[in-house]
C-alpha cells in the first residue's frame, strides 16, 4: 500500500532517508551549475585593476622566488634536462590550482548561506562551481608555461599527451579535499583558519620548488648516515600520502622529457587522492541535509 502510494508521486521525502534521485537531480540542476560557475567567473576580478592578470602574476613571482631559493641558494639540481625555472613552474601549475580550488571551495558554502537557507538544489553544485573557476585560472597560467618554454627554447616531451590524465587527477584531488573542507567549514568555522595553514604547509611538503627524486635520494642518504635505512621506506611512503606529490610528479613526468618517475609512490598518492574523494563525497552527502539548519 505504502509503496503503491509513493509510486504515484514524483518525489518522496521521508525522514532519515537519503534521496534516491539525488544524482538525477544533480543532472536536472545542471543549468544552475553553469550559471553559478559563470557568476563566480564574472565577479571574480570585479573592482580589481589588474583583473585576470593576477592568475599569471602570482605563479610567475612564486616561480622566480623558488628558482632563486632552491636552485640559486640551495643549489638543488633540476629534473632531467629541464631548466630549473621550467621545472618549478610545471610543479607550480597544479599546486596553484589545488591551492586556489581549496580556498575558493572551502568558503563557497558559507558565503552562499542565504542561497542554502532559501532554495533547494543539490548542494554539491556550489563547491564544484567554485573549483571550476580555479580551473580557468589554471588554463591561463598554463599559457605562461608555453611562453616560458619558448624563452628557454625547451621542447616538451611527447608524453605531454598524457597531461589531461594528470589534470583530471589534480582536479579530483582538489575536489576531494575541497569538498571535505567546505562541508566541515559549515559546521566548524575553525576551518577558516586551518585552510590557509594547510596551503602554507603544503608548499613545503609538496615537490614544488624541488623534485621528488631529490627527496627520495637525500632521505635515503640521510637514513643511511643515521644508521636507520629501514626508516626510509616509511618516510617516503608518508611523503607520498600527500595526493599532490603524485599529481606534481605526473605533471613533470609528462612534460619534462627524461624525468624520473617513482610509480609506486605515484600509486600511493593516487590511491590516497581517491580515498579522500570517496570519503569527501560520503561525508558531504551525509551532512548536506543539515546545512540549512546550521549554516
Amino acid at each position: 500500500m505504502k509503496s503503491n502510494n509513493s509510486s504515484n508521486y514524483d518525489l518522496f521525502i521521508k525522514a532519515g532517508q537519503t534521496e534516491s534521485n539525488y544524482w538525477k537531480d544533480l543532472w536536472r540542476y545542471r543549468e544552475l551549475f553553469y550559471i553559478l560557475t559563470w557568476r563566480d567567473l564574472k565577479v571574480r576580478y570585479k573592482q580589481t585593476v589588474l583583473g585576470i592578470a593576477w592568475s599569471v602574476i602570482r605563479p610567475l613571482l612564486t616561480m622566480i622566488i623558488f628558482t632563486i631559493v632552491f636552485s640559486g641558494v640551495a643549489g638543488l639540481p633540476s629534473e632531467g634536462n629541464a631548466p630549473y625555472a621550467v621545472m618549478v613552474y610545471v610543479g607550480l601549475l597544479p599546486w596553484q590550482f589545488f591551492a586556489n580550488a581549496l580556498s575558493e571551495s572551502s568558503n563557497s558554502l558559507v558565503s552562499s548561506a542565504n542561497l542554502i537557507s532559501k532554495v533547494y538544489f543539490p548542494r554539491l553544485i556550489i563547491p564544484t562551481a567554485s573549483i571550476i573557476t580555479a580551473c580557468v585560472d589554471f588554463f591561463i597560467s598554463f599559457i605562461l608555461l608555453l611562453f616560458l618554454m619558448l624563452i628557454y627554447q625547451y621542447v616538451p616531451s611527447w608524453k605531454i599527451i598524457f597531461l589531461p590524465f594528470f589534470l583530471i587527477i589534480a582536479f579530483l584531488a582538489a575536489f576531494g579535499v575541497g569538498l571535505l573542507l567546505t562541508a566541515m567549514n559549515v559546521k566548524y568555522r575553525d576551518f577558516r583558519y586551518i585552510i590557509p595553514f594547510i596551503i602554507q604547509f603544503g608548499v613545503y611538503i609538496s615537490p614544488i620548488g624541488f623534485s621528488s627524486n631529490i627527496v627520495y635520494e637525500k632521505l635515503g642518504k640521510k637514513m643511511i648516515d643515521m644508521n636507520m635505512p629501514w626508516l626510509t621506506e616509511y618516510l617516503t611512503t608518508l611523503y607520498a600520502l600527500n595526493p599532490m606529490v603524485g599529481v606534481i610528479d605526473g605533471f613533470r613526468w609528462s612534460i619534462i622529457g627524461n624525468a624520473q618517475m617513482n610509480w609506486v609512490m605515484f600509486g600511493i598518492s593516487i590511491a590516497m587522492c581517491l580515498l579522500i574523494l570517496v570519503y569527501a563525497i560520503y561525508y558531504f552527502r551525509k551532512t548536506e541535509k543539515t546545512f540549512a539548519d546550521i549554516i
Binding site: N5, D10, I13, S117, K118, V119, V186, K187, I295
Partner: protein, 425 residues
C-alpha cells in the same frame, strides 16, 4: 481515497531542533566539540543537560489537491516557515513523510542569490536559474519579466546601484513568472508598495487559474483571503484547523483577539520581559474609533490603543510610550513619553488602571508594523516593555501610494504621529 487528485500528501511530519546553550551560535567551534568530548569522557554521562528539544513542527498531516490555493496562517514561530522549508526540501524532516507530484518551486525570499555586481539583465538569468527555471524558459519570458519589473532603462546597470524599490520589483518580476505545478510562497509580499503587491497577487491568481497549486504564507489575512481557497492554521508547530479560507481566518482572527486575555499569552508571561516590573501591561487591545477590535486598518484611519496595566507598587508618576517599526525593520515613529500619572491612586498598590491612546488619521504607508509599548517614569527608569506585539499592525491603502504623495521606492523614514490620551474609555 481521492488519491488521484492529491498532489501533496503530508503524513506525521515533524521537525525537531536542538536548542540549548548554543542558541546564539548556530555553528559550533571545534574547540567546543573537543572540550565537550573530553568533559564527557571524564564525567558520568548526563542526559540533555545542555540541549533542549524543540519541535518546530509536530504531527502534521494534510492533503493538498491539484489547483488548491492554500493559505498557511499562524503567529510568529508557529512553524509556518519551517513547514515551507521542509516542503521545499531545504531542510530534512525529523519524522514522517511527504509525497509530491509535479515540479515544485519555492519562493521564500525575493531576489535570492541576486549578485550586487551583476547587471539587472544578468541577475534575471541568475535568479531564474536559482528558482528552477531553465535558460530557454527565462529567455522566452525575458521581455515579459522586464516589462513587469518596470526597470528596462537600468537593465545593464549593476543592481547595487538600484534603489531598493527597483531591486524588489525586479526580483518580484522574475519570481512572478515562475510556472511550476506547485508554487510555495513565503511572506515575500510584505515588502514592496501596494500597487506592485496587487500586481503580483494578480499574477499569482492567474497562475492558479491555470490549474496550478499554490501554498502561501502571509501575516496579511487580506492577501490570504483574496488569493486562497483553503486555509491551514498552524499553532505552536501543530495544525489547529484546516478548511475554507474564510472559516480558518475567522477563527484565527478571533483567537488573536482573545490572545490579549489569554493567560498563556506573552502579556502574562512576565518572566522574560524587560523593565523592573513595578508596573506591567495586563491587556492591550487595538480598536477603531468605535471600539471595534481589529488589527487591519486603512491608511488615514483613526486607531485606538486600549491598555490595562497592573500597578504593583506605590507610585506617583507614570508615563507611556508607543513605538512602531516598519516592515523593513527601522523605527518609523514613536510617541513622546506621555504622562499618565493622573490614573494613579495615591498610597495604593496592586491595582489595575486602564487608559487609551487615540492615534488620529494614522499616516502609515501600507505594510506591517511591529508595535512596542513601554511603561516607565523617565528615560532612565522603566517598568515594562512589550516587544513586537502580535499580531502586528496591518495597514492597507485603497489608493496608490503616489496619489498619497509617497514615493514608493523611498525608504520609510521617520515621521510624527498625532496621539492623545483619552481620559477614560
Amino acid at each position: 481515497m481521492s488519491q488521484s487528485q492529491s498532489i501533496i500528501r503530508v503524513e506525521n511530519l515533524g521537525k525537531k531542533y536542538d536548542i540549548g546553550n548554543k542558541q546564539q551560535e548556530r555553528y559550533q567551534s571545534l574547540r567546543d566539540v573537543i572540550t565537550n568530548k573530553v568533559k564527557s569522557a571524564f564525567s558520568k554521562p548526563q542526559k540533555n543537560t545542555t540541549s533542549k528539544e524543540f519541535w518546530a513542527l509536530k504531527d502534521i498531516n494534510f492533503d493538498i489537491q491539484q489547483g488548491d490555493r492554500v493559505g498557511i496562517i499562524g503567529r510568529n514561530g508557529a512553524g509556518k516557515s519551517t513547514l515551507l522549508k521542509v516542503l521545499s526540501r531545504i531542510t530534512e524532516p525529523t519524522t514522517g513523510s511527504i509525497a509530491i507530484k509535479g515540479r515544485i518551486a519555492s519562493l521564500l525570499e525575493v531576489g535570492t542569490g541576486f549578485h550586487p555586481e551583476l547587471s539587472g539583465r544578468e541577475n534575471i538569468f541568475l535568479n531564474g536559474a536559482i528558482l528552477g527555471m531553465g535558460r530557454k524558459e527565462i529567455k522566452s519570458k525575458f521581455d515579459e519579466i522586464v516589462d513587469f519589473s518596470e526597470v528596462e532603462k537600468f537593465l545593464d546597470t549593476p543592481v547595487k546601484r538600484y534603489s531598493s524599490g527597483m531591486y524588489v520589483r525586479l526580483a518580484f518580476a522574475v519570481a512572478a513568472h515562475l510556472e511550476p505545478e506547485i508554487l510555495i510562497v513565503d511572506e515575500v509580499l510584505a515588502v514592496g508598495d501596494s500597487k506592485f503587491q496587487k500586481k503580483c497577487l494578480g499574477k499569482m491568481g492567474e497562475v492558479s487559474s491555470q490549474g496550478r497549486t499554490i501554498l502561501f504564507v502571509s501575516h496579511n489575512t487580506t492577501f490570504v483571503r483574496n488569493l486562497c481557497n483553503k486555509g491551514i492554521w498552524l499553532d505552536r508547530g501543530q495544525i489547529k484547523q484546516t478548511g475554507s479560507t474564510t472559516e480558518v481566518i475567522n477563527s484565527y482572527l478571533s483567537s488573536m483577539h482573545d490572545q490579549t486575555f489569554d493567560e498563556n499569552s506573552e502579556l502574562h508571561n512576565t518572566l522574560n520581559r524587560r523593565g523592573n516590573g513595578d508596573v506591567r501591561f495586563s491587556k492591550i487591545l487595538i480598536t477603531d474609533k468605535n471600539d471595534i477590535e481589529s488589527s487591519d486598518f486603512l491608511s488615514g484611519q483613526d486607531i485606538k490603543f486600549n491598555f490595562e496595566a497592573k500597578i504593583n507598587k506605590n507610585l506617583s508618576s507614570l508615563s507611556v510610550c508607543m513605538m512602531f517599526k516598519s516592515p523593513t525593520g527601522e523605527i518609523v515613529t514613536s510617541t513622546p513619553l506621555k504622562d499618565i500619572s493622573i490614573f494613579l491612586e495615591t498610597n495604593k498598590k496592586d491595582y489595575f488602571i486602564s487608559f487609551s491612546i487615540l492615534l488620529e488619521k494614522n499616516p502609515f504607508r501600507a505594510g506591517e508594523y511591529e508595535m512596542y509599548f513601554w511603561l516607565g517614569e523617565s528615560n532612565e527608569k522603566f517598568f515594562d516593555l512589550v516587544d513586537s506585539v502580535l499580531p502586528p499592525l496591518q495597514i492597507t491603502t485603497d489608493k496608490e501610494e503616489k496619489e498619497l504623495g509617497y514615493n514608493p521606492a523611498a525608504p520609510y523614514g521617520f515621521f510624527d504621529i498625532n496621539t492623545h490620551i483619552l481620559s477614560s474609555k
